[in-house]
């Protein structure tokens, strides 16, 4: 399988034959090898894969942070290579490392982000106040970010990605490294943001997260999409193909799709190349 194109609405994210090669010391590294996908407006779309599968590279191409070797991609109807600034106006990005400036306060960071997206100083200050309330950081708003906990940083990063009310929000492993309580808080935020009409493109290594949050998902492995569909569709397909008695989990789908074997450690799937 190589594409995710079974949605019905207008495409909020669209990629065709997307390829990314890096020149490494030992030759060319093919990080992404022809990804086709289409995400409908209003969806929460999950993009799963093992470490090094090409998730972050794909997201970085879709968000204009990486050049595209070949193929094409658009977000909110805008070609990311041809009109990068227009694409940037329509997307919000919260990357794997919460991209925050530790010397600023939460409020200063959000005001600056608003100014960078063209808000006046007054508008930016008002919007910062709204977002601090949304992510429940009002009490910490005027403290320097370096004193924030991991969960607070993630929520602030999420708020900074929303400052210009983007049509599409890219979240690259937004809960990696968070404790279970902070993870649940971020999930609630994602649902709330999506309920307001924002399309969410979420990469994650946590299959439970994908199961809980995503309307549809794709699994990428070694730079290629190897499964696609809604979580129930993917589970049903595996059950039928393998003739299983019980309903498989998304873990089973993931392991089947990526050719890995199971070993559970502390509640998470430990990947072992089979």
């Amino acid at each position: 399988m190589s594409s995710v194109t079974d949605g019905t609405g207008a495409a909020a994210v669209h990629a065709e034959a997307l390829v990314k090669h890096f020149d490494g010391r030992s030759g060319v590294v093919e990080a992404v090898r022809g990804v086709d996908l289409s995400v409908d407006a209003g969806e929460i779309f999950g993009f799963l894969g093992p470490n090094g599968a090409g998730k972050s590279t794909t997201v970085r191409m879709l968000t204009t942070l990486l050049s595209i070797t070949s193929g094409r991609a658009s977000v909110a109807g805008v070609d990311v290579a041809a009109e990068p600034d227009e694409a940037r106006r329509r997307i919000g990005v919260a990357l794997q490392e919460a991209g925050l400036d530790p010397r600023q306060t939460g409020r200063e960071l959000l005001i600056l982000q608003g100014r960078l997206f063209g808000l006046t100083p007054g508008e930016a200050a008002r919007r910062a106040g709204e977002l601090l309330a949304l992510v429940e950081l009002e009490d910490a708003a005027d403290r320097r970010i370096k004193g924030y906990s991991g969960g607070m940083k993630r929520r602030l990063d999420l708020a900074s990605a929303l400052v210009h009310e983007p049509e599409v929000l890219f979240l690259d492993e937004p809960t990696t490294g968070l404790d279970p309580s902070s993870r649940l808080t971020v999930w609630d935020e994602v649902r709330r943001i999506n309920a307001r009409g924002t399309t969410v493109f979420l990469t994650t290594q946590y299959l439970e997260e994908a199961d809980q949050l995503c309307d549809r998902l794709a699994i990428i492995d070694e730079g290629r999409i190897v499964r696609q569909g809604t979580p129930p569709q993917l589970k049903a397909e595996l059950r039928e193909r393998r003739g299983l008695d019980a309903e498989p989990t998304l873990d089973d789908v993931f392991l089947d799709a990526t050719g890995r074997t199971r070993g559970r450690v502390a509640g998470d799937v430990q990947e072992v190349v089979g």
Binding site: D85, V93, E97, D101, R103, L112, Q113, R115, L116
Partner: protein, 251 residues
């Protein structure tokens, strides 16, 4: 312009909140001023040394200290922190001109350069150093020093963008450092040995140093002053173009 100014304000807050990064830029140039004057002042007594124009050797040495103060490039290390922490990607994902991403930090560097140069000159005044070109000359002296700090930091930022490493940026800065000393640092260019004179003539820093020195030792000598400003204009334009090109091709 508003994006540049917003990013400039952020960089100024950053500098204000890390005073420990500013202290060496004041202390080390003052230290070298004292040491160099202490070592050479008796060789060049003001009464018999024509190139001092009646002032002490400290006045001749002050431009070296000003250029040293303007050549720390600490802002480039803040840029590396942004890159390593992911904030630089946040900026790249915003619809701001790439020139604004470069200019934001350089605006703050200009402000810091103005402050440091003014403090250094004001500290030097009670020790008998005067600015012969008067108050306007003082302003030009401070502005030219600050512009050099912008240019130098811009080149350090190129290393930061290319290597994305604090250690490499620090080491890379040492490549530029000899340029400060391949200049008429201790005596005028015509008194240098021939190889040094040739090196100094090809070194753009020489013209900045001679412009600064001219403002301190003489009334306005535009033949000396303008080449200094021309050097920072040309190098500044090249630095800005190279920075923007690197950010545009940053993968």
């Amino acid at each position: 312009m508003s994006a540049s100014w917003a990013l400039g304000q952020r960089a100024l807050r950053e500098a204000w909140r890390t005073p420990e990064a500013l202290v060496p830029t004041l202390f080390i140039p003052l230290f070298f001023l004292v040491v160099n004057v202490g070592q050479a002042a008796r060789i060049f007594p003001s009464a018999t040394t024509e190139f001092l124009e009646g002032q002490g050797y400290g006045a001749f040495q002050l431009p070296s200290s000003l250029l040293l103060a303007a050549s720390f490039g600490t802002a480039a290390l803040f840029l590396v922190e942004d890159i390593e922490g992911g904030y630089f990607d946040k900026l790249r994902a915003a619809p701001v001109p790439r020139t604004a991403i470069v200019a934001g930090r350089l605006i703050a560097e200009l402000a810091k350069g103005l402050l440091i140069a003014a403090v250094l000159v004001l500290v030097a005044l009670p020790f008998g150093i005067t600015v012969a070109s008067g108050p306007l000359g003082f302003v030009l002296l401070v502005v030219l020093t600050a512009l050099w700090s912008v240019v130098f930091t811009g080149f350090m930022q190129l290393i930061a963008l290319k290597t994305r490493s604090a250690a490499a940026t620090n080491s890379g800065g040492l490549i530029f450092f000899p340029l400060l000393f391949l200049t008429p640092n201790f005596v005028p260019r015509e008194l240098l040995t021939e190889p040094m004179e040739v090196a100094a003539t090809f070194n753009p820093v020489t013209y900045v140093m001679e412009a600064l020195r001219s403002l301190i030792l003489e009334d306005f000598d535009w033949g000396q002053i303008l080449p200094g400003f021309a050097v920072v204009a040309v190098l500044g334009a090249a630095m800005m173009a190279l920075n923007v090109r690197l950010i545009n091709h940053y993968d």
